[in-house]
Homo-oligomer: 222 residues x 2
DNA sequence: AGCAAAAAAGACAGGCTTGACTGTTTGTTT
DNA sequence: AAACAAACAGTCAAGCCTGTCTTTTTTGCT
């Protein structure tokens, strides 16, 4: 009973402390922004002593890097969870867009955006963020295609999906300061119908076969 | 000769120093991000002593607030300048989109985005930024309509323009870290043709009369 | 019980940022 | 010319952030 189970208990304690630290880091990002996210504040918010914090994450870079990975996990999890709860009714496309729009306006997106902007001028953070973000971006594209139930080999479909995601990111940024939901809702209403015609297999007005770049690479995606 | 001309000289000296400080602030935002933009660094970059800096802008908030206004001016100026140089050829719509896309990827956009994100968690900065950004947003919308030479009263036109700007903002953010120009170019190519059909007065597939919110309010626009 | 290792706690030093303060130069008025 | 005001220069202290260090507690094993 002792050998493994108790060792597991200890590991579990570590894991719990680390989880609290990472969660607190994300919360601080949302509440205080990147420059307001100090290690001291994170430790205080997590209810963890500074010594314990430094024990698990020796430097701020280590903490933030781990938090980036943690955030990525949480974003993917949240997406899948909400996607699973999606009904397959006639308004399927509308619901999918609403779901994605919610992902681009929630706290997790805000935290990711803070990191994204900060990473621009912070090489260490950038190196940690870019590969993960690329992964999330591709995953998001794939999930969108799957949820919409469209065939990506159809001309124009890939572009339509990418455009939707980029548009949602833009709307998400616009929603940062002032509440933009009224405008966003109206705009998305129009876009939904637009998207419906683009995805219709009978060949809409756009899409003559060309392919965009090398798939969805853009990040800050959920 | 003395009364006015010399007073002008002194005022001009002040103005020049202030301009250098504001310009240096924007440059620091682009190069080092919001948290890397310290007053010391700005003063050094501007070639202005710390005393002189504190004389003109007693606090960091004062400096940044002034820089926000300055940045707004520069963005508007840049837009108009480039818009004036726009040829009125057959590829008019393509050129307009390219122009706007450039505005959403240039240094001025980056600086504005840094401020935008920082303002989310900084009330003082936020209060200074929101009204100015709203102005730029409206101006950008107006200018786009004008450059495209479309009639905004036509159903769907307003939505199409707003969608274009929000999409460009999203693409601009995606371009922050990794160079996304290949994907962006391809995507915009598709969107241009999409936009052309949306703006065509013979009634495209979208736009049945509803209006979105209260005009373009979203910021981080140029 | 007793020992070793992991986890946690908290004090401390070094570096940086901000803004206050004093002194100096340049420009302006009478 | 003399007094006055604005612009400029540079130093200083207080506060904060990061990361090192030592000490204490908890856990795991014999």
């Amino acid at each position: 009973m002792s050998a493994t189970s108790i060792r597991v208990a200890q590991q579990e304690r570590s894991r719990a402390t680390q989880a609290r630290l990472l969660e607190a880091t994300v919360e601080c990002l949302v509440e205080h922004g990147w420059s307001g996210t100090t290690t001291t504040l994170v430790a205080a918010r997590a209810g963890v002593s500074r010594g314990a914090q430094l024990h698990h994450y020796p430097t701020k870079a280590a903490l933030v890097t781990a938090a980036v990975a943690h955030l990525t996990e949480r974003r993917a999890l949240e997406l899948r969870t909400e996607a699973d709860a999606l009904p397959a009714g006639p308004r399927r496309l509308d619901r999918v867009v609403d779901l994605l729009a919610a992902a681009f306006t929630g706290p997790l997106f805000v935290a990711a955006l803070e990191l994204w902007v900060a990473a621009r001028t912070d090489p260490e953070l950038r190196d940690a963020l870019v590969p993960l973000e690329a992964r999330v971006g591709r995953e998001m594209h794939r999930l969108t295609v799957e949820l919409l139930g469209v065939d990506e080999r159809q001309p124009g479909v890939r572009e339509a999906v990418q455009t939707t995601l980029d548009l949602l990111r833009g709307l998400g940024v616009a929603n940062l300061l002032s509440d933009d939901s009224a405008r966003r809702t109206a705009l998305l209403h129009a876009w939904k119908r637009q998207l419906a015609t683009l995805l219709a297999p009978d060949g809409g007005p756009a899409g003559d076969g060309e392919r965009a770049g090398d798939g969805e690479r853009a990040g800050v995606t959920a």
